[in-house]
Subunit: 334 residues, 2 copies
């Protein structure tokens, strides 16, 4: 076939650049990648010039084919619209960009994960970060997968997958203890979206026991703002004696505040609330949400590092209580 020259409708290739610069295509490669061989300054200049003239841009697919890397990493979340995952996605994208990696975003519920993972692997992503829990069978197949996987912000069972997460257990305890020790609450309910006795629930449960209190007020709903709102009624009906609640996510806490308000309950006067996440949303609820902050940025950055040759494997990050007003504290409006 006749070799076409660069023109409309076709990207310039490395050969075009080579021809224009009057060098071999290998040299173009050397200057683009700054190696593996040195190039004379004058030659380099000519090549750079040609690149600019042609608007040449290396074809990542071709490069990927040969190097086996794509500079792409996959991020799997259940739902980006959820503030928590949006914050996570933002942090991961930033960390990735800093390393010249691009983010392929996939949303999936656990049952769609296998397909999504296959698809990402097909796209030669250099690694996958998942904030959606993995179904056990996927875990088994993981051994066969060539793609590095790391779990982010998920409970950490005994498996072989590298995993980075906040200290769900300790954080939940912080929340409960604040409610009990600072504000004197003795009936502290749990609002969760998780499985019975997931890590946050255990934190709540054990903290209460340690305090000599009874962990018997538990409401389960979906991990969403709507879920939190809808839980308001069951909460006040089933546990009228509860004067405080630890919500396992800020999304739910925000919804709960709205739901409680609609029911005529005052927060924190009638019911105090502490959330979990430290997501943006808690800053703007009325009243502002006291919550357990997690180090998104740090975790995300480490997750990317991990794929980029790191060796963190498993790590649990300390949380920090962010005191605002929904717990009953008075803080100056800054």
């Amino acid at each position: 076939m006749v070799r076409r020259t660069a023109g409309v409708g076709r990207d310039a290739t490395r050969d075009d650049v080579a021809r224009l610069a009057g060098v071999s295509s290998a040299v173009v490669s050397y200057v683009v990648n700054d190696g593996p061989r040195p190039v004379a300054a004058a030659t380099r200049a000519r090549v750079l010039d040609a690149i600019d003239k042609l608007g040449y841009r290396p074809n990542t697919a071709a490069r990927s084919l040969i190097t086996g890397k794509s500079d792409l990493i996959g991020l799997i979340v259940p739902d980006v619209e959820n503030q928590y995952f949006a914050t996570l996605a933002k942090a991961v994208e930033k960390s990735a960009a800093k390393r010249g990696l691009r983010l392929v975003l996939g949303q999936a519920q656990p049952d769609q994960l296998p397909d999504l993972v296959e698809s990402l692997a097909g796209h030669q992503v250099d690694g996958i970060i998942t904030a959606t829990p993995l179904p056990p069978d996927l875990l088994v197949r993981t051994g066969r997968l060539t793609v590095p996987l790391v779990k982010l912000s998920l409970d950490q069972p005994m498996d072989a997958v590298p995993s980075l997460s906040p200290d769900f257990y300790g954080g939940a305890q912080q929340a409960v203890r604040h409610l009990a020790e600072v504000h004197g609450h003795r009936r502290i309910a749990l609002l969760t979206g998780g499985e019975p006795m997931d890590v946050r629930e255990r934190g709540w449960h054990d903290a209460l026991l340690l305090l000599g209190l009874v962990p018997d007020c538990r409401v389960q709903t979906s991990w969403t703002t709507a879920g939190g709102r809808d839980a308001a009624l069951p909460l006040v009906e089933r546990f009228p004696e509860a004067t405080a609640v630890f919500a396992a996510s800020d999304q739910q806490a925000a919804g709960l505040i709205a739901g409680l308000h609609a029911l005529g309950r005052r927060v924190p006067d009638d019911i105090a609330i502490v959330g979990f996440d430290g997501a943006l949303v808690g800053e703007f609820t009325v009243p502002p949400l006291t919550t357990v902050g997690v180090p998104f940025q740090q975790m995300s950055s480490d997750a990317v590092d991990q794929l980029d040759g790191g060796t963190i494997d498993k790590r649990i990050y300390p949380t920090e209580l962010i005191v605002r007003e929904s717990c009953g504290c008075r803080v100056g409006t800054e």
Copy 2:
């Protein structure tokens, strides 16, 4: 080089499959792609079997190299953490997934756009959807770009880029008219994050004029919840006569509600508010936010279609007033 057989540390290739199935590599391709040539049922079964045994997954990079398509589309937003863009991203991802396309998410402020676009183009994305406004010079270069571009949810100036957006102008008017005609407000302020006289502002401005009112209360802040909150003080100080405000985004409206609350002002009694977006956040503010809803799903789906061979070019989508309580309406808590 000696041909290795499939084994640990290396993905199975089409050749491996061909060998195992005892067919040529072309046939493998035919069954994988369902064409362009027919394959005998028995042969197809053998191939499928081999694929399964080997865990074969076509290498998208290689395919992309030859077809020129990557099944990847780029989405550029200023900030995924922002609820509005998170909702957009979710919708776009869903529409893309439905067509077998994967989403590459990039965050960028206008000045970083050129690099990001270059990078995405290098990754051979089949198209780029941007919800970050394009700097004019990028627009010029666009002519040289091989990558289809479509603007999503952005103001539509006179340029040659396909663009899909809600009816910012009409929507703003809806909001203002509701405040004036239904609730009798005569001093309706504008809270915006946009340039002076952007489309939403023009809608507010013109609606007021049409109503015989004066468009002289304008507060500008950032397009964020924090921006909305911080605007509360300037708003009440500079325009104490304002009894209502049209906020150009729900993010800002949510922040404004919080800020106003901190200042001791009641919404909607002291100040009524109508937002713009119909984002999730407005559902859970206290009081719930009346807002101008935009058809995220439809726009996003059309944007993906557009890249996928569509010919929509420019389209403006009708908005719909979502009446809740921040405007002063009483609606049953459902």
